[in-house]
Structure formats: C-alpha cells, structure tokens
Amino acid sequence: MTSGRWFLLAGLLAALAIGMGVSYAASGQPDGLESAVLKAACDGDEACLEGHAGPPVVSGLDPDYSSGWLAGLTGVAACFVIGSGLVLAVRRRRAAEASP
C-alpha cells in the first residue's frame, strides 16, 4: 500500500475515532452562539432560546440517533463520500473538457 493510502486510512480511522468515541466526552453546555443569545436575550432561560429557534422547517430532519457512535459513523461516512464524490466529479468533468 502506498504512503498516500496509509495516510488516508490513518486519517479516516482518526476521524471515526473522534466521531464515534471522543464525541462521547463532548460537553453538553450551550455553544458560544447559544450561550451569547441566552445571556443577551434570554436571561439564561433555555425555553426562551428554544422559542427563538422555533420548530424545524422540515420535519424529520432532526433524527434522534439512539447512539452517539452511530451519528458519528453516519456523519463521517457521509462527509467522506460526498466530499470525495464532489472532487471526483470535478476531475471527471475536467478530463472530459480536455479530451478532443
């Protein structure tokens, strides 16, 4: 296996380890934007924060992943596949334009 493939494999394993494992240790506190809105506009009331966000625009887009590891696996895989697909499509189109 070439060094490029080893690098890719190691990077993917690192991403999966972070998304499926390390993410279990993630803080549940509000992030910077939520916290700023809580402090500036909601006087610390989380119900007020949810009121600002309102209901989902399209229902079903906030799946309740029963396991954090599944969310990590799904997201990492989706980003890898879509990102790779995008750049491969660009390369294919460039090759098609270059051929006579």
């Binding site: 506190q29 509000p30 916290s35 887009l61 890898f80 460039r94």
Partner: protein
C-alpha cells in the same frame, strides 16, 4: 456557531447571505476545475470527514459555555481556499440535512461564516501573516494558529451582526466576541496540532505549505 432555523428573521440578511454563499460555492467549483492538484483528490473527503468529527466534540470553556472546532482555516490551509470552502459547505449541508445541526433556511449564513470567512478569508489572512514570519515550520504553525483564532472571532462578530439585524439586543455582539475569543484558543490549538501531524508525515499534502508567498494559489 451553527445558526439554527428561526434565529434570523431579517429577510434581506437571509437573502444576501444565501446569494453570497451560492456565489462563493459556484466560484469555488469553477476555480477547482481549473486548478485542481491531483494530490488533493483523496484529501477532500478526508478533510470533510475530519472536520465533521471535530465539530462533534464540544470542549468546555468558562461561563457555562462550550465551543467546538470550526475547521475553516484548517480546511483552507490543507486544501487551498476554494476546496476549503467547498469542504465546509459539504459538512454544513450534511449537518443541516442529516442531523438538524444548523438551519436549512440559514445554510447560506452558516456557509458565509465557516466557508467564506473562515476558509477563504482565513487562507488569505494566513498568507499575509505568514509573509511577516520566518519561512519555517514554526512560523507556518504560528501564523496558522493566529489565523485560526482570528477566524473564530471574525466569524462570531459577523454572526452577531446577523443577529442584531434580526432584532437581538446589542449585548449579543459583546457576548459573541468575548466568548468566541476564548473558544478561538481551542480552535488554534486543534488547527496547529493537526497541521503539525500532517506536516510531519506528508508535508506535500498541505496546500498552504507548498505555495510560497507570491505563488499562484492552488485550488
């Protein structure tokens, strides 16, 4: 930093950020088509996957608040500004559509913050900062860390302006910048750590490392 649906009620802000981000993504696709370096092909999916995973890990800071990696500067320096912007757009779309993290109606605003400001803007600010420092690994990483921190603060300030235009009180600006000035330290540390690891093993895969000052920017 992901703005959820409902936070932005100012129509012109939503329309302008959507148009600007669509334009940035379209330009990025065009730039990538003409300037794509073959070495970058496997790195695109990997960077998107890594940024997604990194954004899952919220780290606590003070004041009952947490932060997470944005990854825009990391993507921009690894892949160049245009592929960096596209990678951030992919990550934000997957999060918004698949995970309800960041709003659908404000996807343009979120891409403007993390793709345009952090990845594209961050890349060019990095080039300016790096030109002032010695051309060495330490200088490169120092410039990367500072730019990563600045990208978080700058994106938070612009996000605060979006919120102000949607009727949030003025204090949101100070809170956003103050909290993200602390979160940016984590961003800088993660960015420097990852770039150090890549530079130690495959420096040829870091677009910003390959392009000396003044050379045409790759995709």
């Amino acid at each position: 930093m992901h703005i959820p649906d409902g936070f932005l009620s100012h129509g012109p802000t939503i329309a302008a950020t959507s148009a600007a981000s669509a334009g940035a993504v379209a330009y990025s696709l065009r730039a990538v088509r003409t300037k794509l370096d073959e070495r970058q092909v496997p790195m695109v999916g990997l960077t998107a996957a890594f940024v997604f995973a990194g954004q899952m890990v919220n780290f606590p800071i003070a004041f009952g608040t947490s932060g997470h990696l944005l990854g825009g500067v990391l993507a921009g320096l690894l892949l160049g500004p245009w592929l960096g912007c596209l990678v951030m757009a992919v990550v934000l779309l997957v999060q918004a559509i698949g995970f309800g993290d960041g709003g659908i109606t404000v996807i343009g605003a979120n891409i403007s913050l993390m793709g345009v400001i952090a990845a594209i803007g961050g890349y060019y600010v990095f080039r300016g900062v790096a030109a002032l420092l010695p051309r060495s690994r330490a200088g490169f990483l120092g410039a990367a860390g500072f730019t990563a921190w600045l990208s978080v603060v700058a994106a938070s300030a612009v996000a605060a302006v979006y919120l102000l235009l949607s009727g949030f009180p003025q204090q949101v600006l100070a809170y956003m910048i103050g909290l993200h000035a602390v979160i940016g330290i984590g961003e800088a540390a993660i960015t420097v750590l990852v770039l150090s690891a890549v530079l130690a093993s495959r420096p040829d895969l870091v677009a910003a490392w390959r392009a000396p000052a003044g050379e045409a920017v790759t995709a």
